[in-house]
Each structure stands twice: as C-alpha cells, then as structure tokens.
Amino acid sequence: MAIQQPILEARDLTKRYALGETIVDALRGVSLTVQPGEFVALMGSSGSGKSTLLHLLGGLDRPTTGDVILGGETISDLDDDAATRLRRDRTGFVFQFFNLIPLLDAAENVGLPLTIAGQDPRRGEAAERVRDVFELVDLGGKQHHRPDQLSAGEQQRVAIARALVNRPAIVLADEPTGNLDFTTGGEILEALWRSCAQRGQTIVLVTHDAKAAAYADRVEVIQDGLIRDEIVLGRRADHTTTALIARLAQLGL
C-alpha cells in the first residue's frame, strides 16, 4: 500500500472510568492508524473496549490520555461545540440499536445532519445527496416510510445512509449487525462495503462477528483494552471468512 497521510490516527489512548470506588480501565494504551479509503474492523469479545475506542475516534467522548488526530487535526482536546461541529461535518455514526428518530420519516432521518447544519434536505443539492445515499443503501422507494414501517435491516440501512449523507471523512459503525439475523446482517455489510468500494469511504467497523469482520481490509483484535493483534486481509471481493477464522484460532480466540 502506498504511503499516504493517514486520515485517522490514535496515539496511545487510555480511558479510565471511575465508578465510585471501582476504577475501570477500558482502554490501556491503544494506537491505531487508518488510511483514506480503508475498511478497518475492530474485533474483540464483549467488554474488551471496542465501543469505548470507537467513541473516542469519533469525538463522542474524550480520552483520559492520548490523542486522536482526524485529517491532520487533533480532535481529542476540542471543546464540546467544536467536537460537535466535527461530528456533524466529518464523521458518521451507526449504532447497534434505535438509530432513528421515530417521529421522522426515513428521508428526514437521513437528512438530519443536513437539517442540523441549517440546510433544507428537501431542496437543491442537499436533496440530491439524500437521494444518492438512499440508492447506495438500496432503499430507493422507502424514503417516506416511518421507522416503525421499516424492517430492522432497513432501519439499519437508513442509519448507514444518514452516516454517509454529509460525505464524512470516516464512518464509525458499532456492531450494526449485532441484533440482526444472518441474511439481514449481510445486507447491512453489503451496503457498507459498496460505500467503501464504490465511493472510497473510510470505515471503522466494530464487531465481534468474524463474518462481519471478513468484509474489512484489516482486522484489529482488541482484548482487555489493548490491541492484541492485527490481521491484514487485503481488499477482496468474496469476503470469505476461512482465512480470518484460521488466524483467530491461532490466537486462541
């Protein structure tokens, strides 16, 4: 891979939660670099610190120590307003549950980042973008359905469309297939994959599922708040899991 300026860089991140007396070290020194257009998966068992890391990478939370650099700018010490603006303009999030505002229809949900930024997502260039991402996630006809009229898989694809709509530097997805069945999960991953393959979208995906991780170019294995290993899969069209599972087995996971 050519040497490029990384789009995202995490340097020696630690995160400590203090719950009264008990102290939880959710991250204990994580460093990570993501190149533009890369699809990176973070794998690990429950409680290993994946979500915490993702939140720090997207500016949802601040690390206890360490830096996060997005597009050459240090974001881990921004104040709340600046971090919020960064999220609005440069990142897109997909969560595991309830990504959508129930009272807004699919198109309004997708247009949310534009609305928040003061644009009208029903007009002009903004409307164009909304339509474009709807096609990308293969939901062309469902723009005006309300969340409760959509299946769980469709809801997640709307969430992905929303994450993509402001053409963010990076999309961060936290177990988007976590509570979906096998086939539905596949649709979600296909949508993410298309955005990466066709649009060159940089993606960081958190998952504990090898089938999901197999879509990535590279898998970082996290354990107890540390990166335990890195498995480079390279860009492949078939997303087979055999190689990944073999490596994970080698690591004893």
């Binding site: 307003d81 969560f95 959508l100 505002i101 807004l104 928040i116 003061g118």
Partner: protein, 861 residues
C-alpha cells in the same frame, strides 16, 4: 405499610422533584378550594352578623317608604298593636363630618371627609337592657334621654379623626354644621356593619336640629313570646293606615344580603374547580410518567406473581400518598390565601356585606381534603388501569413508548371532570356547615353558571387532542422563522404522546381562559357602568344634597345661573311598594331628559312618554323591572300610598336602563306625582350639564356655588370610578386566583417536558452524535415548550372570550345590558404570559436535555 406500599413510596422518592411538583399542584388546587370555602363561611357569618346587627333583638322591621319617615301616630299605633312588646324607632341618614371645627364657615373642598351614617335611636329604649339594639359601648357612657346633642362614635372612627370622649364632633345638617359632644366610644365598627365603621349614633330627639322634623326611617319591633310574626302583620294591616310601609323579617334580610354575594361565591367556587382540575392534570402526568419508566419493573413484578389487582393498588397507593400530602399542604396555603381574600375584598355586594374571618369550617376542612384525595384518585384511575395491563412479557421486551387511544383519554378526562363536578355540587352547601343561614339556599343560577363554564372548559380540553396536530404546526411557524432547525425537530414531539400534550396544553388553556374571561367580565362591567350612567343622567356632574331640596328654595335656579351651565335637572331617589316588594323609584323631570337626549327607549314613544311623565299618572320602567314583573307599555302599576290608598301609574315607556337605585334600577316617576303622592320633599341630587366646551371653565365656579348651597359636586366619571373601584378590587382577587391556575399549568409543563426529555434520551444522544450542539438541544426543548404555549394561549384566549360572553353579567358583578366586550389588551397580556410561563417552564428540562451524555445515551438500549 405493606410490601407494595413501600414499593410505591420508594418509587415516588426516586424522583423527588417530580413528586414535589405534583404535590404542589394538588396543594394549590386544594388551597384555592379551601380558601373559597373559608371565605364563603366568612361571608355567611358576615351575613349573619349583619342581620343580627341590623335587626338587633327585633323580630320584625317596619320601614318607612316616604322621606318624611314614620309619623308619631304610626309609632303609637305600632306600640298599641297586640303582641308588640318593644318598638324602637330608628332614623338613618347619610351626611358628612366636618373635619376641622375651626373652619365652620369654610364650605370649600376638603372641609368634609367621606360620608358617615347618622343613626338616631331612642336612648330610653336602646340604651337599656330591654333595648333591641346592642350598642356595645367600649368606653364612656350611653346617650342620655332628652335629646341633648350627644354622640356615640365607633372607637376606630374616633381614632381616625383624632377625637376622644368629650371632644366635639361637627355633623353637617340640612341647615349647616351642628356640634355634638362625644360621650362614648363603640366597640368594633359600630351598630351597622354595612357602614364600614362610619356610623355615628345620636339621640333620635336631637335629629330634628340636624335634618328637620322627620319621622323614624323604620321601627324595629320585638314580639311577645306568644305572638307570631304572621299574626302581628295581620294586626298591623288593620291599625297602620297613616303612611305606606314595608315589612321585613330576619329571613327577608338574610336572603337579600345573600343574593348580593351569590355572584362572588359562584365565581370563587368556579375558580377553585378549575384550579383543582389543573392539579389533577399534574397528578395524572406524574403517575403515567412514573409508570412508563417502570414498565419493565412492573412486568417483572407481574412475572414474579403480582396480580393485576396488586398492581392497581400500587398505583393507587402512590396517588393516595400524593393526594394526602397535597391536601394537607393545600389546607395551610388555603388558609393564608383566605386571609388575603378577606383583606382584599372587605365589603361585598351592593349592600356592603362584610366578610368575617376567615373562618375555618370544620366540614370545609374535611371537604377540601376529601376532594383533594378524590381528584387525585380519579386522576390515578387511568394510569392504574394502564399499569394493570402491563404483561409479564413486557419485562423482556425492549422499552417502547406505547401509544394510547383517544377513547381512553376521553374516558379519563370525563372521570376527573365528573368527580370534581359532582363532589362540588353535592358537598359545597354541606361544607359551609352551620354558617349557612337557614332558608337561604343556594340559588339555581349560582350553580348553573359554574356548570356552564365547566362544560365549556371540558369541551375545549376534549377538543385539544384533535386540533393539536394542525394547530401545533401553525404554532411552530413563528419559531421556525428564527430557529428553523430546532422548530423542525421539535415539531414532532408534541404529537409524541398526544394525550400528555393535550392535558398539558389543556391545563394552560383553562388557566388562560379564566384570565381572559375575567378580563372580559371586568371590561363589560366597566363599560356597563359607564354606559349606564351616561345613558340616564342628564348631566356632566351630579351635585348631591344630604337633605331634600324643595323646588321653592330656588337652588336649581342658582346653579343654572352660573355662567357656562346649560341645564340643571333635579333628581330624587325614593322607594315604592309594588306587589308587596320594595321597588326603587326616581323622581325626574321628563322635559330635561328629553332635551338632554337621555334614555334609550325600547318600547313606547319617546316624546309622548316624557311629556306624560311630567303631566303625572305615568311611569317609565327599565327593562330589568319590566322583565322581572312581566310588564309592558300600557300596563298600570298600582302603588300604595298613605292612608290605605293607592295611585295608578300607567307605563308609557320601557327603557334599556333606569336610574341607579339602592338595590337595582329605579322606575321613573314625574316630579308632580312624586311630591303629591309619594311624599318626596325635594331633590337629593342635581344633574348639571355644561354648555358645550364650557366644562373646564365653568367647573370651579359651579363647585363653589354648589358647596355654598351645601351640595357636594361629583363629576360623572367620579361616580363611575367609585363603582368601578369596587369591581376592580374583586377582579384583581379573581385574577390572582386564575394566575395560580396558570402557575399550576406551568408546573405541568415542567413535568411533561421533563418526561419528554427522559423518554428521548436515546434520540437526543443520536442527534448529538449526528452533530447537534448542546445549545441546539436546549433551544429545541424551549421551542417545544413555546409551541405548547402558543397552542394553549390560542385555545385559552378563544375559550376565554366565549366564556366572557357566556357569563355575561354574573350576579352583582355587572350587567349584560352593556354587551360583552372583547378585552384585547388582556388577551395580549394573557397570551404573552402563557407563552412566557411555558418557555420558563422549559428551562430545567432543557438543561437536563442539553447535558445528556452522548456515550451513555447511545451505549445502552
């Protein structure tokens, strides 16, 4: 407390702010209710005291119709009537006190204070133990019989005047000031509570020096134990033939006093009901909030074997705790409030009934607590049923806001409204307890009006959920201008839980409706007073005299001679008996009324009627009197005069308003009839009209001449403002109570918004993750509240105007004849206040919303 009870207690304690809000809500409702009860009891006691003071130990009062009063022959005849043991004559006359005895000759402005009532008694009767009127001497001694110029003065009045025993009190009489020596001080406000402490008691025999030779205004009579009121009346009918008279007993007096306070009582009862209604909203919201937070917990309880009944009980026990705490707090607040009411209002109605107290009626305490708890339980019914419906499986499902049917909401509302209404109707008279005067009863109109208002408010509240959608969209438009993003995002949340929003908006609507309706009432009362006086009085000012001024004295001519005066018209107020009741009458000059263009004729020919009036044998009656007795033009009134005879007065016209009388509108009678048949000795007022543009220039000269003639000139606007001041005092009180209702609505909005925020933690997390700043979240919640405020303000103002029209003239608080007015300024202020309160209420919820941690919000399901 059982295990479940502890559970209920804990869940209330888990959210102390919300619990406190609901308790305060119900407490404010109970407070207004209790204050209304305590004030009512005070009014009843005041009526009772007034009856006692006015009637003394007497069983019957024989009142004079004519200004001459009852003659000595009448008094002798009364005393001779079998069954009469004591007959005490009393003379009552309004006059003025001279402030400074040194300026006896000074007849200019300020020489006299506000009017006093001189009460002449016979010290040989009322000074003794056998007397009928208890004078309650606080210091000094009683009056000596024999007609010396001695006076008893209420201690408070003496204090105000800076006078003491043996000092000289100068009373303005018909022929000038007369010095009286103060021999004793009376406890309290003196013998006549309606005189507001401004009554001076003098020997009857001394009053001829003051007011000329006049008979008693009335004679109070005590009957022998064996005699009956009916029997004595029959005897009097035979023996008393010298002058016309009117009889009244204690019940009559109590009933007429009561009637003059009915409007006030109806209105306070109404506001109490409305406030309580607002409190019910709060309770309901609190319980359903607690519930929606605890769906899983209740599901778990059910899975662990709790029966549906136990779950019901759980919710009801919570309600009970809130209800009891709120009611007790409410009693304390209510007592304070009633003190405030009594202080503000003072005297009530056109008869000036004093409010005693506040009095704490024991039944009222029980009633207020009972209603507080009943309303709370009624409000808890629907949440309890909802809680019972939660299935054990609910515990396993991810939380999901359930949508409830509009039917359920109607059912709930109806339950609360009916409970409050029925409880009020059934218990209100009971709650007043022993202070109610027997035989008076609450009249149908007193209860009918509040019911009507209640119905209007109910309909508005029921319609709210239906119009919420379109109205909410409209209401958010102004916000969209400045904060388009926040407005768009907040728009949907009003319809999130339509019922909750409808109830919240409903509480605001009702409070604002009361404020606007009261404004409308006050406005139309003012307008009615102004229009009334302008319509009937043929002058720019009225000069009043404390004695009848005969035509021969030439006073009219002297006033008319002042440069710039166009017309002087004499007016006398007296009373006639018609079909056994007292009717106010006024002697007027028809030609003056015609020339001045006064009176609005509804029936009869104006010109002919006014000429007939002056010619005699004719009368013009106001609409109100015509309606009351079913009279029309062409009918003849048979009016008794002295000597067992009667004169006929043919009705030649019906007018919109008559002259202001003592307790209503007066019929109009020509001067010739008034003097020749009804014993009117002269004018007690002169209406003075200035030539156009001369009012300012001629005013001072006229005032000087008038005062020189012992007349007190008052501009029409002065009379209007004196009447309006009384209204204003009442209405400012009602306004305060209605503002309390809006305040409760504000608490309800805090509750609803907080609940919306808690239900939306996840959503707000997502919005924040998608790039919404804290400030934007904050503004979103405030805009949400503002939209509710706009909807509530719109509906409230609308309902208020409707109510104002529907209420027309609440008894004694104004008249419908002036036509209802739309109080635009008031509407503007009410709307601004409502929207302001709503947005203020958003402050804390908005803070909570903007501080939500994104990571926590998105982390857990």
């Amino acid at each position: 407390m059982t295990g479940l009870g502890r559970f209920a207690w804990r869940s209330l304690r888990a959210r102390p702010l919300r619990t406190a809000l609901s308790i305060v809500g119900i407490a404010l409702g109970v407070a207004v209710l209790f204050a209304a009860l305590a004030t009512d009891a005070g009014i009843e006691a005041g009526v009772g005291r007034t009856v006692d003071a006015v009637m003394g130990q007497s069983d019957l009062r024989i009142g004079a119709f004519e200004e001459r009063g009852l003659s000595q022959s009448s008094l002798a005849a009364i005393r001779a009537t079998p069954g009469v043991t004591v007959a005490a004559p009393v003379l009552e006359q309004q006059t003025y006190l001279q402030r400074d005895p040194l300026t006896t000759s000074d007849a200019t402005a300020g020489a006299y204070g506000s009017p006093v009532t001189v009460i002449g008694i016979d010290p040989a009767i009322d000074g003794t133990a056998a007397g009928i009127h208890d004078l309650q001497l606080a210091a000094g001694q009683g009056l000596t019989s024999g007609g010396a110029a001695e006076a008893l003065v209420p201690a408070s009045l003496a204090h105000d005047l800076g006078l003491g025993i043996s000092d000289t009190l100068t009373i303005l009489g018909s022929n000038g000031p007369e010095p009286y020596r103060i021999v004793g001080l009376l406890a309290g406000g003196g013998p006549d509570p309606t005189a507001a402490g401004r009554a001076v008691v003098v020997p009857l025999a001394s009053t001829s020096a003051l007011f000329g030779s006049r008979g008693a205004s009335w004679v109070d009579v005590r009957l022998a134990d064996a005699a009956t009121v009916g029997g004595v009346i029959a005897e009097l009918d035979q023996s008393l033939t010298f002058e016309p008279y009117v009889l009244s007993d204690r019940a009559d007096l109590a009933a007429s006093l009561q009637a003059s306070t009915a409007g006030f009582q109806a209105l306070t009862a109404l506001i109490a009901a409305v406030t309580l209604f607002g409190g019910a909203f709060l309770i309901f919201n609190t319980l359903s909030m607690t519930l929606s937070e605890r769906v899983r917990e209740i599901g778990l309880l059910r899975a662990a074997g709790a029966t549906r009944r136990q779950v019901h009980r759980l919710v009801l026990v919570q309600a009970l705790i809130l209800g009891v705490a709120g009611s007790i707090l409410g009693l304390v607040l209510g007592f304070g409030l009633s003190i405030l009411i009594v202080r503000t209002v003072g005297l009530l109605g056109d008869r000036g009934v004093p409010i005693d107290g506040p009095i704490v009626p024991p039944q009222g305490v029980a009633f207020a607590i009972l209603v507080g708890i009943l309303v709370t339980l009624a409000a808890a019914l629907e949440p309890a049923i909802q809680a019972g419906r939660i299935s054990p499986i609910e515990a396993l499902r991810p939380a999901q806001a359930g949508r409830r049917s509009i039917a359920g909401q109607l059912r709930w509302l109806a339950a609360v409204v009916v409970t409050v209404g029925v409880a009020g109707l059934a218990f209100w008279p009971i709650a007043l307890g022993p202070f109610g005067v027997p035989g008076s009863g609450t009249d149908a109109a007193g209860i009918g009006r509040p019911l009507l208002v209640y119905a209007v408010l109910l309909i508005v509240t029921l319609l709210t959920p239906l119009v919420l959608g379109p109205l909410g969209r409209l209401a958010s438009l102004p916000f969209a201008l400045f904060l388009p993003t926040e407005a768009r995002l907040s728009r949907g949340s009003l319809s999130r839980d339509r019922k909750r929003t409808a109830l919240t908006v409903g509480a605001l609507t009702i409070g604002l409706a009361m404020i606007v309706a009261l404004g409308g009432l006050a406005g139309s009362a003012h307008a009615a007073t102004d229009a009334w006086l302008t319509d009937v009085i043929p002058g720019d000012l009225v000069a009043t005299s404390i004695r009848p001024v005969g035509a021969a004295e030439g006073v009219s001519e002297q006033l008319a001679a002042v440069a710039g005066v166009a017309r002087v018209s004499p007016i006398a107020r007296f009373a006639v008996a018609f079909r056994g009741v007292r009717l106010d009458a006024a002697a007027v000059a028809g030609s003056d009324l015609g020339a001045d263009g006064r009176l609005t004729f509804l029936a009869g020919d104006r010109r002919a009627a006014l000429i007939a009036l002056d010619a005699g044998g004719s009368t013009i009656v106001p609409q109100a009197v015509a309606d009351e007795f079913g009279l029309q033009v062409g009918d003849t009134l048979e009016l008794p005069v002295g000597g067992g005879e009667a004169v006929d007065e043919r009705i030649v016209g019906v007018v919109a308003r008559g002259m202001p009388g003592q307790s209503g509108e007066a019929i109009l009678i020509g001067w010739s009839d008034a003097t020749s048949h009804f014993g009117v000795l002269g004018a007690d007022a002169f209406a003075i009209r200035f030539a156009p543009g001369q009012a300012v220039a001629a005013g001072p000269a006229l005032a000087a001449v008038a005062r020189g003639l012992a007349l007190e000139p008052t501009p029409l606007s002065g009379i209007e403002s004196a009447i309006n001041d009384a209204f204003d005092r009442l209405f400012s009180l009602f306004d305060t109570l209605a503002l309390l209702a809006v305040l409760i609505a504000g608490l309800g909005i805090v509750n609803t918004l907080t609940m919306n925020v808690y239900e939306r933690v996840r959503e707000i997390g997502i919005l924040r993750a998608a790039g919404m700043t804290r400030r934007q979240v904050w503004r979103m919640v405030v805009v949400e509240a503002g939209t509710m405020g706009v909807v509530g303000a719109f509906l409230g103002c609308l309902a208020g105007v409707v109510l104002g029209f529907a209420l027309g003239g609440v008894a004694g608080l104004g008249s419908s004849a002036g036509g209802p007015t739309i109080p635009w300024l008031r509407i503007g202020l009410a709307a601004a206040f409502g929207i302001g309160i709503a947005m203020l209420a958003a402050f804390q919820p908005a803070r909570i919303a903007s501080r939500i941690s994104i990571v926590r919000a998105v982390q857990f399901e």
